[in-house]
Amino acid sequence: MKWKTEKYNFILAGLFVLMAGLIVAWKLPKREDCYIHMGIAVYDLNDTFMEKYIRTLQDMIEKTEIAGRKISYEIYNADGKNKKQEKQLQYMYAQEYDIMLVNLVEPASAASVLNEAEEKEIPVILYNREVAEKDLQIVKDVWYVGTDGKAAGEIQGKLLKELWDKQKQSVDRNQNGKLDYILIEGEESHYDTIRRTNGFLESGRELPLKQLGNLTADWKREIALEKFAKLDEETIRNTEAVVCNNDDMALGVYDYYKKHQMKLPVIIGINNSQEMNQKIRLGEIYGTVDNNMEDQAARIYEIMKSVLNGVIDKYDKIWYSMPYEIVNSDISEEK
């Protein structure tokens, strides 16, 4: 009898210890993750501008430590396909990232993306491709970092006007007193396309502009080349200037002229890509607009750091970098 009681006591004590252990194990804080996890969605890394953008961001992120934790990040390239990005985003929500940087393929679908991210309590920094301001108001922890497209377009107009004013004779090849130009736009209904074009049109109002053609080349060099080649020769011969929404498309036009070994017209792009910059230095291309991508990356970086430190209302929801012009002054003087 006594032995039995002792046995029961023993079992009871064992159970008690087991339960206490379970409770302690459950209550104990889980081992701190030594990394901050971040997901970066990019609409298309084949876009030279985006590629450079991401590289700049990567450099910044890799150098960073927040509260002694390094940042581990993954980059999701959607190759410009909305369906692919949707899948990637679903995967990203499931990863429970601490923060997400999203460059949407389809900015119109921002609302659902933001709603889902909020449900998972993931702060989102949108960049490069702007979304409707109304959608940004749906959720709290979201920011947009971009560039002032209209200002960039206005700079294009200004550059063209400066050139016209100074070297009207050499620019007006057919001497009709008008500036015959072709406009090559980026993606249809893309905010930057509309804004850059709008800016250019507004600042170019004082010029005797005559539009010979208007192409849409989806920001891409090959498409620009292809579509430009389809214009009739008469138009191309009369073209005195080609204004492009970005550098890649400008280089596409440049490719056409080089291919046909024709005299280059005045070409203006936006972004100040490396190749463009080189061509400008060589005097082959007139100018471009720098979107101040470093500033944007820096801004993203700042917001990111602030959010990860728990400060969420320090920065405005929408921020634009100020673009500036890049021209080879020698050439512009010389011409």
Partner: protein, 576 residues
């Protein structure tokens, strides 16, 4: 004892029942609480899913509209000079293709001057003051979703005013302008009307200015019969909100529709949502109550099964305690309880055995005592009698001596009686007579004696040597100092069914103190007597027959003393 009995039998089941009832009630409450929370959560989730679905459908529809307006813009307006015939042709074609949903199209320049509009379109004079115009002009990159407008009053159709900034070609140059598209609300209404549109469950759509774009009870609202009260609540809440209105709980879930800034609100009466759960509630309550009742019943049953044997055992023990040594407990009950009864019975058996043994021992002891008493016949009597005989022989009274010897022989024979304890009255009387005769001879006829016995009674038994001590007493106390006129009488008669034996003398009598002394002290009247006292005889009779029998002595001074033995009529007595 009685109180305690009541309390434990009553209090225990009451406490148990109360505990069970408390547990069941707690269960019911907890269950109700968790279930209603669960059902509420479930309902919220369910409605949330419906809301998400509706919102998604709306967003898809919005996207279609966006695609349409962009197509018109990029494929027509941006492509053809507005003054060219191709432009108008293409635009009309577009309207024709989308006749089902397009009511009208109009293109204005940035200063609000009309450039082109479709046939059905009613030109708006002050276009540049209109909200759709200003909005589109301000947000050049987005498509603006304006208010809802009633068109074709006879057909009661509504259109959305959708506008966007465009660049059109005129005279070979690009110019800024605003495109207005009037789009029938039907496609959007259709999506929302899929939702159950009852008073207890409906959804509505607001634009970013809180104007109603769709409401199932549009007409009632217009005629003032219905008022939507949930707008403020819907816009101020994040995901869902439960609001009290009209004495009901309303679940309000709002969601902003992407791109447009519209807000879609789903309103559901909480009562009708949770209604389905009520049946389940009642079922579970019923089951829990049933379990409770069964538990209480079982509890009482088990308790009774538990206590009843104990109480029966208790009663048996009481009976046993009161002297009924044959009382035994029923060996019943559960487990240990049965053992208690069994062990009680074993104990009772043992106890009874021991009692029997003690009684047997006691009786043996008494028998021994009796035997001892009988054998205590004083040898002085024998010596004296023998002395008398010797003296009689010396004085040559041979006849007297012979009689004396034969009397003595009779006396001793009966005295011994083969060791029997009970002898017939006849024998006892004979014994008494022989004693008297011997004493009479010895005392030289100092007294006379008579025996008057009912011959009917002589066959009955009486304890041996019960009369002789009385006679001894009568001789030594009654005859003392008497000369030749002493008289001793023995009478045996029946009275009240008992046998009475009177031994009376005509002596000087005794005072009460002396009677008491004789009755209560183990004294013998004479050293020369049989050695058995009156008190002894009395005790013996009472030992054998009970307290109702025995010896009584009454005496009157100078008159005499009567000692009476009362014994029952007994034919035979077991010799024990």
């Amino acid at each position: 004892m009685k109180n305690k009995k009541i309390s434990i039998r009553v209090i225990f089941p009451v406490v148990m029942s109360a505990s069970i009832a408390a547990c069941i009630i707690s269960c019911i409450l907890l269950f109700s609480y968790y279930f209603s929370t669960y059902f509420q959560k479930d309902a919220i989730e369910k409605i949330g899913k419906q809301r998400d679905f509706l919102a998604q459908s709306l967003e898809t529809q919005i996207e279609n509209i966006n695609v349409l307006i962009n197509r018109i813009y990029y494929r027509n307006i941006k492509k053809y000079d507005v003054d060219s015939a191709r432009f108008a042709e293409e635009m009309e074609q577009q309207i024709f293709l989308e006749e089902k949903c397009l009511y009208g199209l109009a293109l204005y320049d940035i200063d609000g001057e009309s450039i082109w509009h479709s046939g059905t379109f009613a030109e708006q004079e002050d276009a540049k003051e209109m909200a759709w115009f200003l909005q589109a002009k301000e947000n050049i990159e987005t498509i603006s979703y304006g208010r809802r407008r009633l068109v074709l009053p006879q057909e009661d159709s509504y259109v959305f005013e959708i506008s966007r900034y465009v660049e059109y070609i005129k005279d070979g140059n690009m110019r800024s302008g605003i495109l207005l598209m009037e789009y029938y609300t039907d496609s959007v209404d259709e999506i929302l009307s899929h939702y159950r549109n009852q008073k207890s469950a409906y959804c509505y759509l607001l634009d970013d200015q809180k104007n109603m774009l769709y409401h199932p009870f549009d007409k009632e609202i217009a005629s003032g019969l219905y008022k939507e009260k949930t707008i403020e609540a819907a816009l101020s809440c994040k995901n869902y909100r439960i609001e009290k209105a009209d004495g009901q709980q309303w679940l309000i879930e709002g969601q902003q529709i992407g791109y447009t800034g519209w807000n879609m609100v789903v309103v559901n009466s909480m009562d009708s949502l949770v209604l389905e759960s009520h049946n389940l509630h009642y079922l579970v309550w019923f089951i829990l109550l049933l379990i409770g009742v069964i538990l209480i019943f079982l509890d009482t049953l088990v308790f009774h099964n538990f206590t009843n044997p104990i109480y029966r055992l208790l009663r048996t023990m009481e009976k046993f305690g009161k002297g009924d040594y044959n009382a035994r407990a029923q060996e019943e009950g559960i487990g240990e309880l049965k053992n208690v009864s069994i062990h009680f019975n074993i104990m009772a058996d043992k106890l009874q055995e021991q009692m029997e043994e003690i009684r047997r021992n006691e009786r043996e002891k008494q028998n021994m005592e009796k035997k001892l008493l009988q054998s205590q016949i004083n040898p002085h009597f024998l010596y004296n009698t023998l002395d008398s005989i010797i003296w009689m022989i010396r004085s040559e009274e041979y006849d007297g001596a012979g009689e004396m010897v034969s009397l003595l022989a009779k006396f001793f024979r009966i005295s011994l009686s083969q060791g029997k304890d009970m002898i017939t009255l006849e024998k006892e009387l004979e014994h008494a007579s022989s004693y008297l005769a011997i004493q009479n001879i010895r005392f030289k006829d100092k007294f006379e004696f008579h025996v008057d016995a009912d011959p009917e009674l002589l066959k009955y038994f009486c304890p041996k040597l019960s009369i002789q001590p009385l006679l001894e007493n009568a001789i030594y106390h009654g005859m003392d100092g008497m000369y030749e006129d002493g008289e001793i009488e023995i009478r045996i008669y029946e009275k009240n069914g008992d046998i009475k034996i009177d031994v009376s003398d005509n002596g000087p009598g005794m005072i009460q103190e002396k009677i008491d002394y004789i009755m209560h002290n183990k004294v013998v009247s004479s050293k020369r007597g049989s050695g058995i006292g009156v008190c002894n005889v009395n005790e013996r009779i009472q030992l054998i027959y009970g307290k109702n029998y025995g010896i009584t002595i009454s005496s009157e001074l100078d008159e005499g003393t009567v000692a009476t033995i009362t014994i029952p009529k007994m034919e035979e007595m077991d010799e024990q």
